[in-house]
């Protein structure tokens, strides 16, 4: 099975660049207007998750609980239906659970309440964590390769992955939470995996350039596909909101990573090698 390694590769690089620009524009727009969609652990509030044994239309729940000022969402999953209720005031939690229990069977429920000041603090800390991780990784990459430009490409690809994943997830309505932050960090780690592989193969092995690219792509895409397969199973079977959130962020991220690594990074490296053939050992 031969993967395509075109000769006139430069024109394909437009694609990842356009995606990156669109993502930056979208994020810029979002930050400038409503701000990012945050989950309650980053903005404060109370959220209850109730798992029901049978599926009920959201409109029905809405009318049953109309006396409370609630924001209601519903998630269908393998194991049943989960309704998620958002409210300002955590005092009503028990009343609400009792009301729902009167007409439906509840398998279980969970509550999360975060004070707004704490939520803000978490958000600030998460951003710092992301920044630090980025810097730490960039340093690690430079130490491994000791060559300037290719290391920049790796870091750049990681940056693009994060920005694009953030943009698409916000567009799809996935709220940013502590768990999704953790997923973004994990994504950074994975994304660098594939880029490090690519760069090592190209710069530190012998042989025809095209051949090297071909083989790295095979390895890299196998890695990505296995991870995607596992994540997809997790997404559908795990039945827990946090795991589902992490899985969806990673799936989106890995797909973007595939584009950024195998269309952008690889071609930047090609250009670099063609200009500096002596750098290849």
């Amino acid at each position: 099975m031969n993967l395509p390694v075109p000769d006139n590769y430069k024109k394909y690089m437009i694609i990842p660049i356009i995606i990156l620009v669109l993502s930056l524009l979208f994020l810029g727009y979002k930050l400038g207007t409503t701000g990012l969609d945050l989950s309650i652990d980053l903005r404060g509030g109370t959220e209850i998750s109730i798992e029901l044994t049978s599926a009920i239309p959201v409109s029905q729940i809405q009318s049953e609980l109309s006396q409370y000022n609630l924001n209601i969402r519903s998630i269908e999953s393998f194991t049943g239906q989960t309704i998620i209720l958002e409210m300002e005031n955590s005092d009503q939690v028990e009343d609400i659970i009792n009301t729902v229990e009167q007409t439906h069977t509840i398998k279980g429920w969970s509550q999360q309440t975060v004070g707004p000041a704490l939520g803000e603090s978490f958000f600030a800390q998460s951003q710092i964590a992301l920044l630090l991780a980025f810097v730490a990784m960039a340093i690690a990459v430079f130490i491994i390769f000791r060559i300037f430009m290719p290391s920049i490409y790796v870091v750049f690809a990681g940056f693009a992955d994060i920005v694009e994943t953030l943009a698409l997830s916000q567009l799809l309505g996935i709220e940013l939470s502590l768990a999704t932050f953790a997923a973004l960090l994990l994504l950074l780690g994975y994304s660098v995996d594939t880029d490090v592989l690519l760069t090592t193969r190209i710069l530190k092995s012998r042989g025809d350039l095209k051949d090297k690219i071909q083989k790295s792509m095979k390895t890299g895409l196998t890695m990505t596909v296995t991870t995607l397969a596992a994540l997809t199973v997790l997404y559908f079977v795990a039945g827990n909101q946090i795991i589902t959130q992490i899985a969806s962020i990673l799936i989106i991220g890995l797909l973007f990573d595939a584009i950024n690594t195998w269309i952008m990074n690889i071609n930047l490296l090609r250009m670099y090698v063609e200009k500096h053939p002596e750098k290849v050992r």
């Binding site: 800390q125 998460s126 964590a129 994975y190 296995t226 596992a230």
Partner: protein, 559 residues
């Protein structure tokens, strides 16, 4: 032939050793409590217990075998026991438990609240406090929870990057009600005696001082020139007084007799002739009472406050025209009449009473009050700023789906590997290595008694994910031919590990900021992911490298 080569490899032995240790750690049964096997019809516990329930604590004693229950066969009173990690209270009138039990086997993995259900709360002191005060607060909280026997309650101080201190309480099987009413409550106890003073023409005398109604926005009176209202106390004869109310032409003052510091001990368990702690059925509900023992000084204050009280006769009983009002955190919890015989006596054993319509609620309220009074008031007021609560059933369902998801993911990965390489020889070792990595991580968690919660599970997923990637890299390096020259197998493995170390380093680099800044979810995730990656680099992946070398070795890749 190939297998013989493998047996000589120390890396393989290291992996096998790690797997064996982990299996032991995970499977070695530890006893924790007893499981109920039968309940007789006449058992006082038959409404509260079911066959299969696990009991590991009764009345502050740990239960680890059926023999430990023998001493409770003659017990009467309120039995407080830990059933499936939940505190249960049952009133036993006639001795005899009427149940049969066997020693329970419990898993060795410590599961977190996300999985077994419970409540996690983050409390913030309302003002900045020193480390000593923080320690004191934790100690008080620990005392409060002791009566409740919730073994799974963990107290921790958490510091965020701005240096702010928080207290995190995690209760398996608890609910937010317990936290709000028991732990977050400051617990300031006050016992005050009401002193009525009659006024004529707006003026009167109290203990040789003049008293008159003052002119304030809220009610106030002036005693010898000093103004008091219902908040700020003044000292009269070394006793703190506040204003309670003004009704018609009578001023009611409150003199403080007892405070939290004056309580020396609380009667938890009724002991004939020593102290009283009872539950009594009334016509419309249940009344509970228990004695507290107070300091001599406070008893003397009581004596002084009641010395000049007038007597009232009501049917056959004589009472004082003074009442003992009990406050908890500023709220009135009881108004007790004082028998006239106590006037001027140093009363050292006041009795706290309460009433609830429901028996279970009466028992619960009694225990709550005993707990708060015994532990004393918290040195600082605590505010609840974060609550996570998960019902146990949700948690159990999660374990099942997690196992299912794990197996499904393993299968999916194996299928992809098989499609790519078309050899069971390759797909099988990958599958087995990944599974052994999960096993070793869990084994390590069991040994260090690390709590497995959602963050930990996510961390395991992360670590194993990078593990699979590393294995694929190793396989491809071995199979790869580079143009005309072929490297030796050793060189190929070396390069594969260069890439693997590189990716492991960057993964750990990404996790470190999380561990430092780490709050809750993020920190646990980062720690487990890092442990997993380290186990991978030092144990599982080197072993896999050798296995791959031997099994795949000089096989050429099929184009």
């Amino acid at each position: 032939m190939e297998w013989k080569n493998l047996i000589k490899e120390w890396k393989i032995w290291l992996l096998v050793l790690a797997i064996i240790i982990s299996l032991f750690a995970l499977l070695a049964p530890t006893s924790s409590g007893v499981t109920v096997t039968s309940i007789s019809e006449s058992s006082p516990l038959k409404d509260d217990l079911r066959v299969g329930d696990i009991i590991d604590w009764i009345n502050e004693e740990t239960i680890s075998s059926p023999e430990d229950l023998i001493k409770f066969e003659t017990f009467t009173g309120v039995l407080r026991y830990n059933k499936n990690n939940q505190l249960t209270l049952t009133q036993i009138e006639t001795p005899g438990l009427g149940i049969n039990t066997v020693k329970s086997q419990d898993g060795t993995l410590n599961f977190g609240m996300d999985i077994i259900g419970g409540t996690r709360v983050l409390l913030e002191p309302v003002e900045n406090i020193s480390t000593e005060v923080m320690e004191q607060t934790l100690a008080t909280l620990q005392t409060r929870i002791n009566l409740y026997g919730l073994k799974e309650t963990k107290f921790q101080t958490v510091v965020d990057i701005t240096g702010k201190n928080y207290i995190q309480i995690e209760m398996a099987g608890g609910s937010t009600r317990e936290i709000d009413d028991l732990l977050a409550k400051q617990g300031k106890f006050d016992g005050k005696i009401s002193k009525p003073v009659d006024l004529i023409g707006g003026k009167g005398t109290f203990w040789n001082k003049t008293i008159e109604v003052g002119n304030c926005t809220n009610d106030c009176v002036i005693i010898d020139g000093e103004t008091i209202d219902n908040t700020s106390p003044i000292l009269i004869n070394n006793i703190n007084f506040t204003l309670w109310k003004i009704e018609n032409s009578t001023v009611y003052l409150l003199g403080s007799a007892f405070t939290s510091e004056d309580i020396e001990s609380v009667c938890i368990q009724e002991q004939a002739g020593i102290c009283a702690s009872r539950l009594i059925k009334r016509s419309n509900g249940w009344e509970f009472n228990f004695q507290v023992f107070v300091s001599e000084e406070s008893a003397n204050r009581f004596a002084e406050l009641t010395r000049d009280a007038k007597k009232i006769v009501d049917q056959q009983n004589e009472y004082l025209d003074a009442y003992l009002i009990l406050f908890l955190d500023g709220e009135t919890i009881d108004e007790l009449s004082i028998a006239s015989g106590l006037a001027g006596q140093a009363y050292r054993e006041p009795v706290i009473t309460g009433f609830r319509e429901d028996q279970t609620e009466a028992l619960a309220e009694k225990l709550r009050m005993q707990s708060i009074l015994q532990s004393g008031s918290l040195p600082v007021e605590l505010e609840v700023i974060k609550v996570d609560q998960i019902s146990a059933s949700l948690g159990q369902g999660f374990i099942n789906s997690a196992i299912l998801a794990g197996l499904g993911a393993a299968l999916a990965v194996s299928i992809v590997i098989f499609i790519r390489y078309r050899k069971i020889k390759i797909a099988l070792p990958v599958l087995l290595t990944s599974l052994s990595e999960v096993l070793i991580i869990l084994g390590a968690a069991a040994i260090i008694k690390y709590t497995i919660d959602l963050a930990a599970i996510a961390g395991i997923i992360a670590a194993v994910g990078t593990g699979v990637d590393s294995q694929i890299m190793i396989i491809d390096e071995i199979l790869m031919r580079e143009g005309e020259q072929t490297r030796t197998l050793k060189q190929k493995i070396k390069r594969a590990f260069f890439i693997i170390m590189g990716s492991a380093t960057t993964t750990i680099a990404a996790m470190i900021p999380l561990m430092i800044i780490g709050i809750g979810v993020m920190r646990g995730f980062a720690i487990v992911a890092t442990i997993g990656v380290l186990i991978g680099i030092f144990i599982t992946r080197p072993a896999f490298g050798r296995i791959a070398e031997v099994l795949i070795g000089n096989v050429e890749e099929k184009k």
